[in-house]
C-alpha cells in the first residue's frame, strides 16, 4: 500500500492551498510479546499500515470501516495519543510528529477529540465546571466568570448545569459536555470518534446538528470516525473507507455512495439497511463470507481477497494477481480525487439496487 501513497493517497479535488491536516504514510504497529520473564516480540499487529489523507479547513472527512479496521487507532496516532510507528502528521503547517513533549502539550490546544462513550470519558467525581476549567488550567489560560457559562451556552446547555456531576445528565447532554470540552480552547481540528453511536435516534439528530452548527460558526475542521454510514452521508464532505489498517477507497461523499468502485465499499454500503421497506424489497445485499482476518497475520496481496465477492468471479491468473500483488490506490476519477485500491475496480450501484 505504501508505494501508492506517494503519488496517490493525498489526492483531492477540494479547495486549493495548504490542507489543515496532512497525514502522510502513517503507520502504527503494536508488538505481540510472549514469554514469562524475558518478553520477546513474536509478531506485529499492523493496526494502521500506511494511511495518507488530507483534510482542508472547514471540511469534514469521515473514516469509516468495521471494528478492528484501525480507524480509531489512526485517529489516536494522528493526535499522538498513541505514538505512531512511523509517518508524518502536519497540522496547519506544524509537523506534529516532530514535536517534543512540551511542544506537543502546547499544540494540543489546536487538536482535540470527542470520544464515543460520554459515560466513560467524563470524570464522575468532578463537576462540569471543574471538568471544563481543568482544560484551561492545563493549558495555562485564564478562566473568567463567564467562560464556562458561555461555553455551555454554545453547546446548548443552561448555565445552572455547571455545578452538577456527570451522572445527573442524559447521554445526549453528556455528549454536549464532551463537545464543550473539545471546543474550549478554540481548536483548529477535532477528531470525532463515533460521537453519536451511543445515542438514541431522536437524540442523535440533535448532536449531529450541533456539530454542524459549531463547524459553521467556528470554522472547525473535523475527522469523523464512524461505522454508521447514514450519518456519514449526512455529515461528511469526503469519505475514506478502511479495511485491515489501510484505506481501500477514498472519494467525495456523493461519489463514494453513488459510484463506489471497491468491492469492499460496495459490500459495506449494500449491507446497510435503509428505512424504506419498498426500496429494501428490491435491493440486493452483498453478503460477505466469514470474518475480518487477524491483523497480526493479514492475507498476502490484497487484504480483502479472502472475503471478496469479486475474487470468486475472476479467472485463475487474475486471482493470482490479487494474491501476489498488493493493489495500490488507483485513480478512478483523478479530477475529483476518487481512488480505490483494487486491481479490478469497477462501478456497481448498491444504494438503490
Amino acid at each position: 500500500m505504501s508505494q501508492a501513497s506517494e503519488q496517490g493517497g493525498v489526492g483531492t479535488a477540494e479547495p486549493a492551498g495548504q490542507p489543515m491536516l496532512e497525514v502522510d504514510n502513517l503507520v502504527k504497529h503494536f508488538p505481540i510479546r510472549s514469554g514469562v520473564f524475558i518478553k520477546r516480540t513474536i509478531g506485529q499487529v499492523k493496526a494502521v499500515d500506511g494511511i495518507s489523507l488530507n483534510v482542508y479547513k472547514g471540511q469534514t472527512v469521515a473514516l469509516v470501516g468495521e471494528s478492528g479496521c484501525g480507524k480509531s487507532t489512526t485517529a489516536r496516532a494522528i493526535l499522538r495519543l498513541v505514538e505512531p510507528t512511523s509517518g508524518r502528521v502536519v497540522l496547519d503547517g506544524v509537523d506534529v510528529s516532530a514535536l517534543d513533549k512540551q511542544q506537543l502539550r502546547h499544540a494540543r490546544r489546536d487538536m482535540q477529540i470527542v470520544f464515543q462513550d460520554p459515560y466513560a470519558s467524563l470524570n464522575p467525581r468532578m463537576t462540569i465546571r471543574q471538568i471544563l476549567s481543568e482544560k484551561f488550567q492545563l493549558l495555562g489560560s485564564p478562566v473568567t466568570r463567564t467562560t464556562i457559562s458561555d461555553l455551555l451556552d454554545t453547546v446548548g446547555l443552561a448555565e445552572e448545569y455547571a455545578d452538577r456531576y456527570p451522572h445527573e445528565f442524559s447521554g445526549g447532554q453528556r455528549q454536549r459536555i464532551g463537545i464543550a470540552r473539545a471546543i474550549a480552547m478554540n481548536p483548529k481540528f477535532i477528531v470525532l470518534d463515533e460521537p453519536v453511536s451511543a445515542l438514541d435516534v431522536s437524540i442523535q439528530a440533535q448532536v449531529v446538528n450541533l456539530l454542524e452548527d459549531l463547524q459553521d460558526e467556528l470554522g472547525l475542521t473535523y475527522l469523523f470516525i464512524a461505522h454508521d454510514l447514514s450519518v456519514v452521508r449526512h455529515i461528511a464532505d469526503r469519505v475514506a473507507v478502511m479495511y485491515l489498517g489501510s484505506v481501500v477507497e477514498i472519494a467525495d461523499r456523493d461519489d463514494l455512495f453513488d459510484r463506489p468502485h471497491h468491492p469492499y465499499t460496495q459490500a459495506l454500503i449494500s449491507a446497510v439497511p435503509i428505512p424504506d421497506p419498498k426500496l429494501e424489497r428490491q435491493r440486493q445485499r452483498i453478503v460477505l463470507r466469514g470474518d475480518v482476518p487477524n491483523p497480526a497475520n493479514p492475507p498476502s496481496g490484497c487484504r480483502f481477497r479472502t472475503r471478496c465477492w469479486k475474487f470468486e468471479q475472476l479467472s485463475e491468473s487474475d486471482q493470482r494477481r490479487c494474491i501476489e500483488e498488493p493493489p495500490p490506490l488507483y485513480d478512478i476519477d483523478a479530477g475529483k480525487g476518487h481512488q480505490a485500491s483494487c486491481h479490478f475496480a469497477s462501478l456497481r450501484e448498491v444504494v438503490r439496487a
Binding site: 471494528s67 435516534v201 440533535q206 461505522h227 449526512h234 439497511p273 424504506d276 429494501e280 445485499r285 444504494v351
Partner: protein, 348 residues
C-alpha cells in the same frame, strides 16, 4: 403477512403467541417504574413482528416477561397475560412454564458474549439445551449440536464444537446463540437487538440466516430493535413503543409511508438517509425521553411533540384504528400528523 393486528381482548386467543394488556411495574425508591403499561400484540407462524423503540421504552422488558426472566419482586404484574396457542403462560404452574421456555419459545440476546457461559465448551452448552427438553443420550445431543452449528453456517463445526466462547468472533458467537435457540425447534423466536453489537456486513449475514431459518421452519420472529433500517428490511408488522406503551402499530408500509403518530413521524424525520443526497438539516425530536417513574400526564409524548395541544393532556390516548384494518395509532392529532408527513414527502 397475516393481519392479526387487531386484538380482540375479550374473545379466545387465536394467534400463535398473544400478549394481552401486559403491565410490568417495578417498585423503586423513586416511585413505581411502569416499564410496560398495557401492551397487547400477537404474532403468527412465519411472521416477523418488530417492536421498535428507544432505550427505556419497555421493548425488552415485555419480551423478558414472556420468558419469565423478570424477577418478581421487584417486578409486579398488575394485569395482563401471555398466550401460546391459546394457553395462558403466566397462569400455568412454574414447572410447565419451564417446559415451554426454551423449547417452544426461545430467545436470542444482544450480547452473545455475556449470554454464553465462558467456562463451558460451546458444543456442550448447545447439547445441554437439547437434553433439558428432550430425553436423549449425551451422544445424541452432541450430534444434534454438531448439526445445528453446521446449519447456522459455522465453518468446521466439528472443531468449533469443542471450543470455548472466547475463541469465537462476535458474529460466530451470535450464530452459536442462534443454534442454541433453535435446539428444540421453537415456534417463536424472540430476538432482542440480535445484531446491534455486530458490524453491518456481519449483521447482513445474521439477518439472512434468520430469514432462511424462518422460511425453512415457519418460525414466528419477534424482532426487538431500535434500528429503523433493520425494521424496514425485515419486519412484516411493526409496533412502535414509547414510555412503556405501544403508540402506533401497522404493517411496515403503513408505518414508513403513512405514519399517524407524532412520535413515529418525529423518528422518521430525524433519521439521516444513506440513499439521499444531503438534506439541509436533520429534524430532531426536542428534549429527552421521560423517566418511566415520572411519565407525563396525558399523552406521554406531548412535552416533546410539535403537534401537541390542550387536547393531549386530559388522558392517555388509546390505540385506535386510523385507516385500514391493521393500522392503529394512539394520537389525538393523527390527521394532522398524516398531513404534515405528506407535505414533507411532497416537498422532497
Amino acid at each position: 403477512m397475516t393481519g392479526a393486528a387487531d386484538i380482540d381482548l375479550e374473545g379466545p386467543p387465536s394467534a400463535l403467541l398473544e400478549v394481552r394488556d401486559l403491565r410490568v411495574h417495578f417498585k423503586t425508591d423513586y416511585g413505581v417504574v411502569k416499564a410496560v403499561d398495557g401492551v397487547s400484540w400477537s404474532v403468527n407462524e412465519g411472521e416477523t413482528l418488530a417492536i421498535v423503540g428507544e432505550s427505556g421504552s419497555g421493548k425488552s422488558v415485555s419480551a423478558m416477561t414472556i420468558l419469565g426472566l423478570v424477577p418478581s419482586p421487584p417486578a409486579t404484574f398488575p394485569s395482563g397475560d401471555v398466550f401460546l396457542r391459546g394457553r395462558s403462560l403466566l397462569k400455568m404452574p412454574e414447572k410447565q412454564q419451564r417446559k415451554l421456555r426454551g423449547s417452544q419459545i426461545a430467545m436470542i440476546f444482544q450480547d452473545p458474549l455475556t449470554a454464553l457461559n465462558p467456562v463451558f465448551k460451546v458444543g456442550d452448552q448447545i447439547a445441554e439445551m437439547v437434553r433439558v427438553h428432550q430425553d436423549v443420550s449425551k451422544h445424541v445431543a452432541k450430534k444434534r449440536a454438531l448439526d445445528l452449528l453446521g446449519e447456522v453456517g459455522i465453518p468446521n463445526p466439528a472443531v468449533r464444537l469443542n471450543q470455548y466462547p472466547h475463541e469465537f468472533s462476535g458474529g460466530m458467537r451470535q450464530r452459536a446463540m442462534i443454534a442454541m435457540a433453535l435446539a428444540n425447534d421453537p415456534h417463536v423466536l424472540l430476538a432482542d437487538e440480535p445484531t446491534t453489537a455486530l458490524d453491518v456486513t456481519v449483521q447482513a449475514q445474521i439477518m439472512a440466516l434468520l430469514e432462511k431459518l424462518q422460511d425453512d421452519r415457519n418460525t414466528a420472529i419477534v424482532l426487538i430493535t431500535h434500528d429503523l433500517g433493520v425494521v424496514a428490511s425485515y419486519a412484516d408488522r411493526i409496533n412502535v413503543m414509547y414510555a412503556g406503551r405501544i403508540v402506533e402499530s401497522g404493517t411496515a408500509d403503513e408505518i414508513f409511508y403513512s405514519p399517524r403518530h407524532a412520535y413515529t413521524y418525529g423518528l422518521l424525520s430525524s433519521l439521516p438517509r444513506m440513499d439521499q443526497q444531503r438534506q439541509q438539516r436533520l429534524q430532531p425530536i426536542k428534549g429527552i425521553p421521560p423517566s418511566l417513574a415520572r411519565v407525563p400526564q396525558g399523552c406521554p409524548f406531548h412535552p416533546r411533540c410539535t403537534f401537541a395541544t390542550e387536547a393531549c393532556l386530559p388522558e392517555v390516548p388509546s390505540l385506535v384504528s386510523v385507516d385500514g384494518e391493521t393500522h392503529r395509532a394512539a394520537c389525538v392529532h393523527s390527521d394532522r400528523v398524516a398531513m404534515a408527513f405528506e407535505d414533507r414527502v411532497g416537498a422532497k
